[in-house]
C-alpha cells in the first residue's frame, strides 16, 4: 500500500529478525523511563502518604518541653502548666505528660537485668492526652477519672512497648512498675508526631504520686493551636508557661519535620530523575553503537536494497525507523514497568499510589528523542553506503 506502511513493515521485520539484539538496545530506554516514572511515582506516593498523614494529624500540634536548666537532671514545668498555656487565646486544648525517672517497668518477673539496662520510660498523663494528640487506642481504653478516684493500678502501653511485651489484644496482663503490679487497660496507637510516646507506658498522675513516689510535675506539654496560628502560638507558649519564672521552655512543631521530610524526598526524586536521564543517555549511546555495527553487518542487505531500487533516503529511513521503534517500545515497556514498581512498592508500604500520568508521555517522548538522535548517525551511514562495494567481492 503506501510507502510509509512498507517502511514500517521493513523496519519491524529488521528488528524482529534480531530479537536478542533488539531487546538489549531496548534496555536503555526501558531502564531510563522506568527509573523516571518510578522515581516520580514513588516520591509522590510517599509524599501523598505524608500529606495524608499530615492532614489527619493536623499541622497545629505544638510540643513544649522543659528546657534543661543548670543543676537539674530532670527539668520540669510548673504543675499548672496546662492551665497556663490554655490561657493563650489561640490554644484550643493541651495535655501534659511527666517523665517518671527511676521507675523500672518489668513485663514479667525476673526480667529485671535487661529492663534495668534498657528501661522503658514511664510517663504520667492526664485524661485528655489521646484527644489532644488526635490518636485513638488500638485496644482497650485510656486512663480516666475512675482510675484516679478508685485508685486503680492501671497502665496504658504505647504501641511499640505493647509489641515488645508481646501484649495480645484483649489480654489480661499485669506488669510491674517499681515492684508494684499494674493492670494493662489499653494500648495507645502509634503517635507519628511524637514517636517517643510509642515506647512509653502511661499511668495516671495519681499513681505517679502515690504509687511510684514521684512529684508528677510535667515535663512536656502537647498543645493544639487554632489553625493558622501554630507558629505564633508556639512562640507564645514559653512566656505563658514561664510567667516570669526561671523555667526554660522549648517548643517545636512536629509536623514541620514531616514537611521537611517531603522536601527531602524531592531531592531524592531529583537524584532518581537524573539517574533515569543518565540511563537514557547511556542507552542512547548503546543504540548508536549497536546500530552502527549493525549497519556494517547488514551492508549486504543495504547493498541489495539499493540495487533493487530503494533510494538512499529510504534505506536511511529504514534504519532510523528501527531506532524509533526501539525508543517507542522501550519507552512503553519502561513506563509500564515503572508504573508497576510504583504500584508494587505503594501496596507494600501502604501508600496511596500517585502516578504522574501527565508526565509519563514526557519521559516516553524523551526516550523516543534519545533513540532517534542515537539512530541518526547509523542511518546516515547506511544511506551513504556504496552498494557496489558491498555487493561485489573482488
Amino acid at each position: 500500500m503506501s510507502r510509509s506502511q512498507d517502511l514500517v513493515g521493513v523496519a519491524w521485520a529488521g528488528l524482529r529478525a534480531r530479537k536478542v539484539r533488539t531487546m538489549m538496545i531496548m534496555l536503555g530506554p526501558v531502564i531510563g523511563v522506568a527509573a523516571m516514572v518510578s522515581a516520580v511515582g514513588l516520591t509522590e506516593s510517599a509524599k501523598g502518604a505524608l500529606q495524608a498523614q499530615l492532614a489527619q494529624l493536623g499541622t497545629n500540634l505544638i510540643v513544649a518541653q522543659a528546657g534543661s536548666s543548670f543543676g537539674s537532671q530532670n527539668p520540669t514545668l510548673p504543675a499548672n502548666a496546662v492551665e497556663r498555656v490554655e490561657n493563650i487565646s489561640t490554644v484550643t486544648s493541651a495535655a501534659a505528660t511527666a517523665n517518671l525517672s527511676g521507675v523500672i517497668a518489668l513485663p514479667i518477673q525476673g526480667a529485671s537485668t535487661y529492663y534495668q539496662a534498657f528501661p522503658v520510660p514511664v510517663r504520667a498523663a492526664g485524661d485528655d492526652l489521646p484527644s489532644v494528640l488526635g490518636v485513638s487506642l488500638t485496644n482497650g481504653r485510656w486512663l480516666n477519672a475512675s482510675d484516679t478516684s478508685l485508685h486503680l493500678h492501671s497502665v496504658v502501653l504505647g504501641e511499640g512497648i505493647a509489641k515488645q511485651y508481646g501484649y495480645l489484644p484483649g489480654e489480661t496482663r499485669t506488669i510491674q512498675l517499681n515492684g508494684k503490679n499494674f493492670g494493662v487497660v489499653g494500648v495507645l496507637d502509634s503517635v507519628p508526631l511524637d514517636p517517643t510516646l510509642d515506647n512509653a507506658a502511661f499511668v495516671t498522675e495519681w499513681a505517679a504520686k502515690h504509687l511510684l513516689g514521684t512529684n508528677g510535675r510535667p515535663n512536656q506539654l502537647y498543645i493544639r493551636a487554632l489553625t493558622g496560628t501554630t507558629t505564633a502560638t508556639a512562640k507564645a507558649v514559653p512566656t505563658a508557661v514561664n510567667l516570669g519564672g526561671t523555667v526554660q521552655v522549648s517548643t517545636q512543631v512536629p509536623s514541620d519535620a514531616l514537611k521537611a521530610q517531603s522536601q527531602a524526598n524531592k531531592t531524592l526524586q531529583e537524584v532518581a530523575l537524573l539517574a533515569g536521564l543518565l540511563a537514557l543517555t547511556v542507552g542512547g549511546i548503546g543504540i548508536a553503537n549497536v546500530m552502527s555495527i549493525s549497519v556494517i553487518q547488514r551492508s549486504a542487505e543495504i547493498g541489495i536494497r539499493r540495487a533493487v531500487g530503494h533510494s538512499r533516503s529510504t534505506v536511511g529511513a529504514q534504519f532510523l525507523l528501527e531506532s524509533l521503534f526501539v525508543g517507542i517500545l522501550g519507552g512503553l515497556v519502561g513506563a509500564v514497568l515503572g508504573i508497576l514498581v510504583v504500584y508494587g512498592v505503594s501496596a507494600l508500604a501502604g501508600w496511596v499510589t500517585v502516578i504522574a500520568y501527565a508526565e509519563v508521555p514526557v519521559w516516553m517522548g524523551l526516550a523516543l528523542l534519545v533513540s532517534v538522535v542515537a539512530g541518526l548517525y547509523p542511518s546516515i551511514k547506511a544511506a551513504r553506503l556504496e552498494p557496489l562495494e558491498t555487493l561485489r567481492l573482488g
Partner: protein
C-alpha cells in the same frame, strides 16, 4: 526465439556513450576509458575479461549504481547522470534486475520476502505484492520453497530466488555479476539455462564474468581489457555491435 537481426533497429535499452570512470584524486586510475556500448532488447550478452579489466566498474555504471566521470549513460533513451538519487533508484528498480555471485538474499526474510523486497515502496498492495512475488518464485520452480529462509535452501535454490527477485519487477535488463561463480557445474548449467529463458524480445540479459565458458553461452560476447572493450562478437554474426 526471435532472430537478433530483426532487433538491431530497435532503440537500445541501455547505452554507454564515451564513458570514462576515473578513481582517485591525486593519482588518477582509469577504470574505464571512453567506452561506448549499446545493449539492445532481446540480447543475451556477456561481458568478459580478467581481473582489473574494468568489469566491476562496468557493472556499476550499467546498473546505475555508479556515476561516470565523463560520458553519458542512457536508460531507455534517458540520460540518467543528472538525476537525483531517488529518481535514479526508481529507474534502477524499474529497469534493472540484479543477480550477484553471492546471491545476497536478506537472511532474515523468507524466499517470498526476499522477492517482495524488489516490489517495496511502489504503492503496490501487500496482497498483490505477495502474489506477484509468489508467481515469480513459482516460475522458477520454487513455489514450494516460498516460506523458507535462505539458510534452509541450497546454493542453486538461493540463486533462483535471487533470479526471481531480479525478474519480479519485469525489468528491461537483467544484470548478473558472476551468476554461476558460487555454484557447482550442474547448478551453474541450470542457472544459465534459466538466463536464456529470461531473455525476451523486450528484455536483455547481461552477464558480467571472468569465466570464458560462461561467457561463451551468450550470443553476444563483449571482451574487456584495461578499461577498454577489445572485442564485441555476436555468435554467427561477425563484427562489432555497439562497441568499439
Amino acid at each position: 526465439m526471435t532472430a537478433p537481426l530483426l532487433e538491431v533497429t530497435a532503440p537500445p535499452l541501455l547505452e554507454l556513450e564515451t564513458v570514462s570512470r576515473v578513481y582517485g584524486e591525486e593519482v588518477e586510475v582509469y577504470a574505464l576509458r571512453e567506452v561506448s556500448l549499446q545493449i539492445l532488447p532481446g540480447e543475451l550478452m556477456s561481458i568478459v575479461g580478467p581481473s582489473g579489466s574494468g568489469k566491476s566498474t562496468m557493472l556499476g555504471l550499467l546498473g546505475i549504481l555508479d556515476h561516470p566521470t565523463s560520458g553519458t549513460v542512457r536508460v531507455a533513451g534517458q540520460d540518467v547522470s543528472g538525476l537525483d538519487d531517488a529518481t535514479r533508484s526508481r529507474v534502477r528498480g524499474d529497469a534493472i534486475g540484479f543477480v550477484f555471485q553471492q546471491f545476497h538474499l536478506i537472511p532474515h526474510l523468507t524466499a517470498l520476502g526476499n522477492v517482495e523486497t524488489a516490489l517495496l515502496y511502489r504503492d503496490i498492495r501487500p496482497k498483490d505484492r505477495r502474489e506477484r512475488a509468489y508467481a515469480a518464485l513459482d516460475r522458477l520452480g520454487l513455489g514450494q520453497r516460498a516460506g523458507h529462509r535462505p539458510v534452509q535452501m541450497s546454493g542453486g535454490e538461493q540463486q533462483r530466488v535471487a533470479l526471481a527477485r531480479a525478474i519480479v519487477t519485469e525489468p528491461l535488463m537483467v544484470l548478473a555479476d558472476e551468476p554461476t561463480g558460487a555454484l557447482d557445474s550442474a547448478n551453474a548449467a541450470h542457472v544459465l539455462e534459466i538466463f536464456e529463458g529470461l531473455q525476451s524480445p523486450e528484455r536483455a540479459v547481461v552477464m558480467v564474468t571472468h569465466d570464458l565458458t560462461v561467457a561463451d553461452t551468450a550470443r553476444r560476447k563483449v571482451s574487456m581489457r584495461d578499461g577498454r572493450i577489445v572485442a564485441d562478437e555476436r555468435r554467427g554474426l561477425p563484427g562489432p555491435g555497439g562497441g568499439r
